[in-house]
């Protein structure tokens, strides 16, 4: 599917948001899914490379693509002027799922990974839900600008050097929100995700009190399919080969054997994946 670049802005040094007209992608994309862009004709390897769908607007048929400095497609997409063209494919794979009964959504990300969850914000607010975003970054200069988030969103930032918001990691802020949130969604480095899962192992114990105090009875209302262990969903990234499910290049360890990020993912319930045991 052919795309035309409509506009681009560099929202942080080396970080781009590009608006593309790609109607058949915009009409089908769902939060958490990736789109793929073909390496350009002059490029030596014909490959599909993932881009993060920061947002999509179905009616005009537009998607907003986020390019971090290390995005695989950065090299050929970032220099394009408006009017530039690229070939898109996707969306492939499984999206993030908001449960019907979930009203409070907690989004947890580090660095530019917030882009992978960004379209979930729009879907959730559109459906009248409340959203809190927790972001971790090295320092203030790498923090996703709050101006890119709707005002209704609660946005809390942690920086490793303390230059903005909480001095520490994004995980330090999680316990404060875990009782409030009906569902959580995370994207980020493998280390952060692992630490998050480890942290959440203590959640049931902590929430025994907190949750019941705040929303008595909600738990049972969710039904069996949405057991509390599905509370966290993650969006993974892996280097990809085919994105068609044949090469097994994107495999990661799942709870019951290897799973392909390009097909079974990119969104997973945290319990579907294999995590290290706490040391």
């Amino acid at each position: 599917m052919d795309g035309e670049l409509l506009a681009a802005r560099e929202y942080l040094p080396g970080h781009w948001l590009q608006t593309w007209r790609v109607p058949s992608l915009a009409s089908r994309a769902q939060p958490g899914q990736y789109a793929y862009v073909a390496t350009p004709p002059g490029w030596s390897v014909p490959l599909l490379r993932p881009v993060t769908l920061h947002g999509f607007d179905r009616v005009p048929g537009e998607v907003v693509v986020q390019l971090a400095p290390d995005a695989p497609a950065q090299g050929w997409l970032a220099p394009l002027p408006p009017g530039g063209r690229a070939t898109f494919a996707g969306p492939f794979g499984r999206p993030l799922r908001i449960e019907a009964s979930a009203h409070h959504l907690l989004l947890i990300a580090d660095g530019s990974s917030i882009g992978r969850l960004r379209s979930l914000v729009d879907s959730a607010l559109g459906a009248g839900r409340q959203v809190a975003v927790l972001l971790g970054a090295i320092s203030a200069s790498e923090v996703y600008p709050s101006s890119l988030l709707p005002d209704e969103v609660e946005y809390a930032v942690a920086t490793a050097d303390g230059s903005l918001g909480h001095h520490g990691t994004v995980l330090d802020m999680v316990p404060r929100y875990e009782a409030w949130a009906d569902q959580a969604f995370a994207a980020g480095s493998p280390d952060m995700l692992q630490d998050l899962v480890t942290l959440l192992r203590g959640r049931d114990a902590r929430l025994g009190v907190a949750r019941l105090a705040r929303r008595p009875g909600r738990r049972s209302a969710r039904g069996a399919a949405a057991a509390p262990r599905d509370w966290l969903q993650v969006v993974l990234e892996q280097r990809v080969g085919c994105v068609l499910g044949v090469c097994l290049g994107c495999s990661v360890e799942g709870a019951t054997g290897p799973v392909r990020v390009c097909r079974e993912g990119p969104a997973f319930a945290s319990q579907e994946l294999a995590w290290s045991d706490p040391a």
């Binding site: 014909p46 695989p72 085919c242 044949v246 290049g249 994107c250």
Partner: protein, 292 residues
Amino acid sequence: MTGDDPGDHPGDPGVDLAPERPGALVLRTPILAAAGCLGYGVEAVGQVDLSALGAVVTRGTTLHARAGGPAPRMTDAPAGLLHALGHQNPGITTVLERHAPRWVTWEVPVILSLVATSAEEFAALAERTDGIPGISGLELDLGSVESGRKGRPISYDASSVGHIVAAVRAATDLPVLVKLSITSPDLRGVGRAAAEAGADALDCGSGPPALLQGRRAMLSGPAVGPLALRAVSELARRSRLPIVGCGGVTTLHDATAMLEAGAVAVAVGTAMLADPSLPIRLAAELADQRSS
């Protein structure tokens, strides 16, 4: 596929990858799907008209199931792809049970790629295929970076190649292709050892040993094309066996260069990952070029 009428055009004899076994492995077109890049073929049904391919070489298959290596298994390299997949596969028993019944129904020949580290293990794998319809040939993966010793592919050593091929030859009557690393230092010796031990054809071959985040990995894609061409041309000058050229083929120009260097057929790997119908387009373009 029986080999009775392999050519699309009357009089087109097809490409015989096992001349000493008449009709056993004759390809309609000289373009194959390289090992691992179309899985077991079944994954691609519906996306690709498999019958337009010369043959499908399957994912490398081991005696027992393998979960594969840790992530990341793959990364982009300049004009190429680095991969260390760790031979993830469900093991030969499952593969034969699950897929061979479908392969029987296909027009395209399926060549089963076998992965092992010893002659005995290779022979055991070959024996398992005995009497199982749907398999048109075996490819011994002696080019793999991950199963060779210390990241040196088995095909770096002619005598190992000879032993393994002889053991497999004794275990099966199927056509046997031997896949070599394109950086094998002694291609001449290796080609001779394979031929003397009874191989039917050579696949030249697998990408060279490289490094993926500190782990041993294979490099493939256009970056390795010039190395593959050189290996094929060197082998072709020395070997009487038919040669499948593989490595970096992305365009008609690349495919033609392989055939000019002495290959009788060409396998496409990396370039078909994102576009599984690329080999079919190449086959069509090649046929056009030849008939014009």
